[in-house]
């Protein structure tokens, strides 16, 4: 998985990591094996939590919107939010809090500005793509945004985008996705810090 490879490169050896929306814990497992991190996952889906425990990943059953302030006294090296930020009720608040409890954050998000999404909307339908695979009535994505929207938010709030990668639908960097990310990137991957 190329996104995992990017995240791996950005994470320092032995880091303390918190993964918001950790799914089955496979990313944390991978980082434990390759970077010897000490990681904790936050997850709300019961089936995923079970898989975390089976995989030996420390997991906390918690809604991110409600629970993120519980960690306000913590100091992690890195907070990760992979493909979860659009599912939050208050993504801007969560991002701000994540940057309070960790030195930096890695955020990945599906780009609603991708040409396939635009085409779908142009044709009068809500997009269903590789990055956004769920129909409008089943999706948990409350706050979809484009790469431009997200980067504007970070700029407004004074968050520094230290590193960024724009990936195409095959989760690879291509000259097109780098040239016009808001149109050709399916995913944005960011390393963010606070000023």
């Amino acid at each position: 998985m190329p996104i995992t490879e990017i995240i791996k490169k950005w994470i320092t050896e032995g880091a303390n990591v918190i993964d918001f929306g950790c799914g089955d814990g496979s990313l944390l497992c991978d980082l434990k094996d390759s970077k010897n991190i000490n990681g904790y996952g936050i997850e709300i889906d019961p089936d995923q939590i079970e898989l975390c425990i089976e995989n030996g990943v420390s997991v906390i059953e918690q809604d991110i919107d409600q629970g993120i302030q519980d960690f306000s006294s913590f100091n992690f090296d890195i907070a990760i939010m992979a493909s979860s930020i659009q599912c939050l009720k208050n993504p801007d608040v969560a991002l701000d809090k994540m940057l309070d409890i960790a030195d930096c954050c890695i955020v990945t998000l599906p780009n609603f500005g991708h040409w396939k999404c635009r085409l779908d909307v142009f044709l009068g339908r809500m997009p269903v793509t590789k990055s956004l695979p769920v129909t409008w009535y089943e999706t948990n994505n409350y706050h979809l945004c484009t790469i431009k929207d997200f980067e504007n938010l970070c700029e407004e709030r004074g968050f520094i985008l230290n590193k960024r990668k724009y990936l195409n639908t095959n989760y690879k960097e291509s000259w097109l996705s780098s040239l016009r990310p808001n149109l050709f990137a399916a995913e944005g991957v960011y390393l963010i810090e606070k000023e």
């Binding site: 079970e50 975390c52 997991v59």
Partner: protein
């Protein structure tokens, strides 16, 4: 399932946390399944405050089913085909181990109120002595609910080298003010029973049954959830034929009367006081100026903390407190909230998710 019941007398003196010493003590315990050749498949189950060593299977004494039979047995969450499970009766209890109803070896009289104050730390220490006796050097898992969960947590703190995993269910690192308040009302009803005789009722050939019954009735309410009581009893009236006393109108009244009566026949009032005191006093952070994180720093085992949504005695937020402190201390720990409709007692009842989580944890 191979079930073994045993009582062992340990002749060495036991120093207790309160400063007193027991010259010797007896432990009653049961085991389920078989210890493997490497002695590496042992699981310790800690009982809650009115529980005892009879956790699973049928007792050879009265053929009653163990209190956690839904959890422990062949192909159950704690699979006795694979694991060797040990459960002992806590000292200070009334299930066969040394306690207020047993004989004080120094004067050959029944202990009664003279049995010293015991603590969660003391119980864990006696369980360690039993562990050594059984030739086990490491528990694969120590688990318990409520006061049993407190023991599992204390195990992880007291003996970090001797435990791989701890399961802490429907428990807290500290009883709440409300918990202590409820327990004090229960203790007061026992103390004010005319047959209490300052705890020396056995010497006077009597028992403070009325007080113990009231205490249990109050306790029982705190173990159930409002929702479950509504569903099970609602405002239904008790039919005349099965009324325990004439004063009873509603089913819930009859139920509490029945439960309280049964309990006060079988349980010991001094034990009730000792156990509730042990629960109230439990506080691993007290040695670290109230800093739970510091108290957990030396833990080497993985923790699984489970809270139950309908539990208002030790609600999920109490479990989360343990989780957050463990996380801050860098301890591997998971926290799960289960639905469980039975209030505090939910930890006793198996559900699909409960089963899967425990299986995943013990096999991880």
């Amino acid at each position: 399932m191979k079930v073994t019941s045993k009582k062992i007398k340990f002749e060495n003196a036991l120093s207790l946390e309160c400063g007193s010493t027991l010259p010797s003590f007896e432990l009653m315990f049961e085991t389920y399944g078989e210890l493997n050749k490497q002695n590496s498949n042992a699981v310790l189950v800690c009982h809650a405050f009115s529980g005892n060593h009879h956790a699973a299977g049928e007792s050879n004494l009265d053929s009653s089913i163990g209190w956690w039979d839904q959890m422990i047995g062949p192909n159950k969450a704690i699979d006795t085909n694979k694991y060797f499970v040990v459960c002992s009766n806590n000292i200070g209890g009334c299930g066969g181990s040394s306690g207020p109803t047993t004989i004080n070896p120094t004067n050959e009289e029944v202990y009664g109120a003279d049995f010293p104050v015991v603590s969660v730390v003391d119980w864990v220490n006696t369980q360690k002595i039993l562990m050594d006796y059984l030739g086990i050097s490491k528990w694969e898992l120590v688990l318990g609910g409520s006061l049993g969960g407190m023991q599992a947590l204390q195990w992880a703190i007291s003996y970090p080298e001797n435990i791989n995993k701890a399961g802490i269910f429907a428990a807290a690192a500290q009883a709440s003010t409300q918990n202590i308040a409820m327990n004090e009302v229960a203790r007061e009803s026992i103390r004010k029973d005319e047959n209490f005789y300052d705890g020396h009722y056995l010497k006077n050939n009597t028992k403070p049954k009325k007080g113990l019954k009231t205490a249990r009735m109050l306790g029982h309410i705190t173990y159930l959830s409002e929702e479950h009581m509504d569903l099970r009893f609602g405002r239904k009236f008790q039919d005349n034929e099965s009324k325990i006393t004439r004063d009873v109108d509603f089913e819930i009244e009859n139920y509490l009367q029945y439960k309280g009566e049964k309990f006060s026949d079988a349980f010991d009032a001094n034990t009730y006081i000792l156990m509730t005191k042990a629960m109230d006093n439990f506080d691993p952070s007290s040695n670290e100026d109230g800093d739970l994180k510091k108290a957990l720093t030396n833990i080497k085992s993985k923790l699984l903390i489970i809270g139950f949504k309908t539990d208002w005695l030790f609600p999920p937020k109490k479990g989360k407190e343990i989780q957050l402190a463990a996380m801050e201390a860098g301890i591997k720990s998971s926290f799960v909230v289960l639905d469980g409709k039975h209030g505090h007692d939910s930890f006793l009842f198996m559900s699909d998710r409960y089963f899967k989580i425990i299986r995943s944890f013990i096999e991880s």
